[in-house]
Each structure stands twice: as structure tokens, then as C-alpha cells.
């Protein structure tokens, strides 16, 4: 392995950016491909697949054998709002493999008794996200209903290109939210990425069912990353 390649790969991994290490198993030459880099042909298609699935494997392309080692940051879910939905969403998401952080400055909501075994911050999103910034391998669900708490986090999620952004509230509530986000400087195409009303439409009624809908939508967004451009995702 090229020492510079190893150094670069570790830098990408430390920064929570996805990278695929491509090694030609015939001559040992290797290189780093970052998400969004263009690689032509069958090899390019296999690399795109590695980014989407996170699965490392050997592939035959151009008469050679390549090993693709996919290094994807661990996806995580940040929930703004220590509400009833979050109490169900926390454990469910963790079981599905998405570590969860819950943020809510309202100390009456954000109590360890209501949220055992989950990373909980009884602080404003502004403060928490300064310490641990959002990134494209983070999903954000804003479920407080309170613009003072949700709006900053939603704008930050748009700017960080979170792979999933959902906001609780009716279409009417969301229309007002869109106006506020536009006023904060978000673009209309950015705002269109927000899933609102939140969650897959499964007719969810209870807080726990809404949590299932949000988690399902998060997983769908993660597994279909990069497919939007090809029209494979509705």
C-alpha cells in the first residue's frame, strides 16, 4: 500500500467522509476514490455500488481484478426534541444500527429518566451542533413543533447535506416553516429535501408508530443515497 494513500484514507475516515480504497490485485497499485469522484466503466459502477451499500468486495473489470474496500462513516441519527416519539425512536434506531443523539433545551423533557441508554443533551441545538457538527452521514429529525428549537437545526442540516432531514408538522405548519427557512437564507431546492410531514406514509397514529415511519424513511434515504439523480427514487 502506498504510504500516502494510507495517510489520505485515514484523514478521510477521521473526518467522517466516505472513501473507497481501490487495489489492483495484479500489481498491488492502489488509489483512493472519494464520494462523487467520477470513475468510468464497469469499475466506476462497482465503486458507486460500494459507496451505496458499504460492502467491500473483489470485482473483475477491464480484464483485471480489483479489491474495493468501502470505508463509510457510521450513519447516525440526531433527533431534535425529547418528546414521546423520540422515546420510541431512540431504542428502535439503535437496534437498526443508527446511533442516536437527542437534543432538547427544555430540561423538563430532556431527562435521563425519560431517556435511559441514549445520548441526551439538555441544551440548545446551536450549542450541541457547534461541538459535534452535522455531516452527510447524519440524519436529522426535528420533532419539537417549536420553531425556536427546530429551525436552527433544520437550517444546519440543509447546509451540512444530511442524508435525511425530516420535520414534524402538518402541511400547513410546514408551509410556514418554509417561509422562515427562506428568510434564514435557505434555497427553495434545499428546503425541498425536507420530509414533511415526517415519516413514510404508513398511516402511523401512535408516537411509536410515527417512530417506525421516521426510522423507515431514514433507512430508505440512507440506502438510496446517490440514486436520486438517476430518478430511481420517487
Amino acid at each position: 500500500m502506498d504510504p500516502y494513500v494510507l495517510k489520505t484514507l485515514n484523514e478521510e475516515r477521521r473526518a467522517r467522509r466516505a472513501a473507497v480504497l481501490v487495489t489492483d490485485l495484479g500489481d498491488g497499485r492502489d488509489r483512493i476514490v472519494r464520494e462523487g469522484d467520477r470513475v468510468a466503466g464497469d469499475l466506476g459502477a462497482a465503486i458507486a455500488n460500494a459507496f451505496r451499500t458499504g460492502i467491500s468486495r473483489s470485482v473483475e473489470a477491464e480484464g483485471r481484478t480489483f479489491f474495493l474496500n468501502a470505508h463509510l462513516p457510521r450513519p447516525r441519527l440526531v433527533v431534535v426534541g425529547a418528546v414521546h416519539i423520540s422515546q420510541a425512536l431512540g431504542p428502535m434506531a439503535r437496534i437498526a444500527g443508527y446511533p442516536v443523539e437527542i437534543i432538547d433545551p427544555r430540561t423538563a423533557f430532556a431527562t435521563p429518566e425519560r431517556f435511559p441508554n441514549v445520548a441526551l443533551h439538555a441544551e440548545w441545538p446551536e450549542d450541541v451542533l457547534k461541538r459535534a457538527p452535522l455531516d452527510s452521514y447524519t440524519a436529522l429529525a426535528a420533532v419539537t413543533h417549536d420553531p425556536k428549537i427546530d429551525d436552527f437545526a433544520l437550517k444546519a442540516a440543509l447546509d451540512a447535506r444530511c442524508f435525511y432531514i425530516g420535520a414534524l408538522g402538518s402541511r400547513k405548519t410546514h408551509a410556514k416553516r418554509v417561509e422562515r427557512l427562506l428568510a434564514l437564507g435557505a434555497g427553495a431546492d434545499q428546503i425541498a429535501r425536507i420530509h414533511a410531514p415526517i415519516g413514510l406514509d404508513i398511516g402511523a397514529a401512535s408516537p411509536a408508530e410515527i417512530a417506525v415511519a421516521v426510522l423507515a424513511q431514514t433507512i430508505h434515504a440512507f440506502r438510496s443515497r446517490g440514486l436520486e439523480a438517476k430518478g430511481a427514487v420517487a
Binding site: M1, D2, P3, L6, K7, L9, N10, R13, R14, R16, T23, L25, G28, I55, S56, R57, S58, F67, N69, A70, P73, R74, R76, R94, P99
Partner: protein, 112 residues
């Protein structure tokens, strides 16, 4: 379950390999590149080895690491990568094997 969203720098084989390299040590990196049947470590797993035989990480549940370390010393000496294949002990030329019944291919290369 490891729930950290950040690298575990003290245990991450590739971070350790980079540290060894900075210390001026000769290093080999072994990578699981293919598995068949029940294999203890997934494709992409690493074992890193230095010229003294120190190692970190794993490519199996401890079944073949000894053999990989020995081969890695060769690779460090020659600079030529090797592809190793391990299966059930009595079905292959290797003295060591995977008691779980699986088969794995391990690519061993020198760093630098």
C-alpha cells in the same frame, strides 16, 4: 455493540499502521478480500504486522493469524504482495485452517 460514530484510534488497524510507519517501522497490511461460507471476519477486515511480528486487528477468529504474520515477514522483506488462501485444515496445503468450515482469501502487502 460498538456505538461510537468516531474511529477507535487506539484499536483501528489502519491508524496503528500509519503510526508505526511514522515511527520508522516496516509494516505489512493483510486484508480479507474474499470469503466463502461461514467466515469469522468480514471482507475488508485488516491485520497489520511489523517486522518484529507485532500485530493488531484480525482476519479470522485467531485461527490463521499466526500464519499470516509469518507470511507478512516475507512480504516485508521482499516487497512483493502475496495472496493467501485458508480453508478447512485438511482440505488445503496449509497447516492451519478455519475450524468453522469457511474459506478466506487474504491479501498481504507491504506498506511503502
Amino acid at each position: 455493540m460498538d456505538e461510537s460514530i468516531y474511529l477507535d484510534e487506539a484499536r483501528d488497524p489502519l491508524i496503528i499502521a500509519e503510526g508505526w510507519m511514522k515511527d520508522g517501522r516496516d509494516v505489512a497490511i493483510a486484508t480479507v478480500v474474499e470469503t466463502w461460507g461461514s467466515a469469522p471476519r468480514p471482507v475488508g477486515s485488516h491485520l497489520v504486522i511489523d517486522a518484529e511480528g507485532n500485530f493488531h486487528g484480525s482476519v479470522s477468529g485467531g485461527c490463521v493469524e499466526g500464519a499470516v504474520v509469518t507470511e507478512a515477514m516475507d512480504v516485508i522483506g521482499s516487497g512483493k504482495p502475496k495472496m493467501l488462501e485458508f480453508g478447512v485444515a485438511d482440505e488445503t496445503a496449509w497447516q492451519v485452517g478455519l475450524s468453522c468450515g469457511g474459506r478466506i482469501k487474504v491479501y498481504v502487502e507491504r506498506l511503502g
